[in-house]
Symmetry: C2
Subunit: 256 residues, 2 copies
């Protein structure tokens, strides 16, 4: 059992739960809690190792047994040490250190999400979860958006990270992908065309901007046209995760 806070596995986990640059340098990230680690296992994701407390729920114990049969390195750790790692204390006694190994962006695309200037990890995680549900094929993350592999984003994503290609990249690369797949780029904007009047059946990328600043100059430059959710209630705006969800499922509706 790991009982020292200086243990190298524990130190790696702590670093990966911190800054984006630590995750990028190690090429790894952390999933916390029984449900998320189950999702990672189900998806066949590459595990580095698992840390868990001795006492676990029945479901947690079954998960550890299953991981061991798959030769995943599972090590017990002192309960207080594990709790001290997590900002939520919501590990349920299990964390997995996972390879960054990403799905490639598919060469043929017709449904892409670009979350622009989303700073709130909960909002980004919600967008990723919704994107996975709506059958989005790839999520391209521009530099101004928060790190998609931060622990709060992974938690709010509820397994989206194990189903979707999620790639941080520069705007030039996003433009290159959009152009080569011949995507029409729509920017969610209150002044845009009604999503119920727009034809969303052709291959498209949808840029959903952050709440505080609206769309970035780069996003506006890339966009072919603007798209809005008409609001009878005349409130100032929708939550970015909500606006993105309504627009993504309008794409699904039109194509179904």
């Amino acid at each position: 059992m790991i009982t020292s806070s200086q243990n190298p596995k524990l130190k790696l986990a702590r670093a990966l739960l911190g800054r984006p640059k630590e995750r990028r340098a190690a090429g790894a990230f952390v999933a916390e809690g029984v449900r998320l680690v189950e999702e990672a296992a189900l998806s066949g994701w590459p595990f580095r190792f698992v840390l868990h407390t001795e006492a676990l729920s029945e479901r947690g114990e079954a998960l550890i047994e299953k991981l061991k049969t798959k030769n995943v390195d599972c090590e017990t750790v002192d309960e207080r040490l594990l709790q001290s790692l997590s900002d939520t204390g919501n590990t349920q006694g299990i964390i997995a250190i996972l390879d960054y190994s990403l799905f490639p962006v598919p060469p043929i695309l017709d449904f892409v999400l670009i979350p622009d200037q989303i700073r709130d990890p909960g909002n980004l995680g919600m967008l990723l979860r919704t994107a996975a549900a709506a059958g989005v094929q790839a999520v391209l993350i521009p530099p101004e958006t928060t790190d998609a592999f931060a622990p709060k984003v992974v938690r709010a994503g509820m397994g989206a990270h194990f189903r979707l290609p999620i790639h941080a990249m520069e705007w030039e690369e996003i433009r290159r992908i959009s152009e080569s797949a011949k995507l029409k780029v729509w920017l969610a904007d209150m002044e845009g065309r009604s999503c119920w009047q727009a034809d969303l059946r052709a291959p498209l990328a949808l840029i959903v901007g952050g709440e505080a600043e609206g769309a970035s100059a780069q996003a506006s430059k890339l966009a072919d046209e603007q798209l809005c959710v008409p609001m009878p209630g005349r409130v100032e705006s929708l939550n970015a995760g909500v606006a993105g969800a309504v627009l993504m499922f309008e794409v699904v509706r039109q194509r179904s």
Copy 2:
């Protein structure tokens, strides 16, 4: 300037930021931050009093000036005392203590939201914000859902509280209102009919259930039919706030 933590106004504010029963007993709640207090003022909401720090942003100072011309009691308070009240420290130097005074439920209804077993304040606030945007006419809150006037719900509601009738009530009362307005009651459920196939133009109430437990027995009993957001991505579920948003805006689309 208020400098004692035992000041009666400060004690009332502290109580109202705490338990639901304090809010119900006093018939009041708290809005924090310049933007929310502005919204309350714009809507003509009844103010009890405002507490603010001496140093304020320009926008904050303009707001206090405007409130004073409306004879709202505005009192300065020591900065650390004000900060100690708020769990987010996100007051921007201003909080308003507001009457509970609710809009009545309109006698003629065709669009009602019932958030069932929503425990997360952020999720409930997001549902209220979306409901205000979608032109919902009343939100009926059953007993199992978290208090809609808790500070985190008010914050996430982004002003919805000043636009929408939001009423906590027993299920019997919800049934009485639904029946007298002849509403068809739809329950959001993964096993339900596709929202794109269902006719949502007739007067309706939409029950959106919490994530953890799904719909309550009471909700299932009240519902006439179940309604789902079809998900091509085959994930386990959508966030309750997201599912509610997609369904509410599908109602708007069908009626527009």
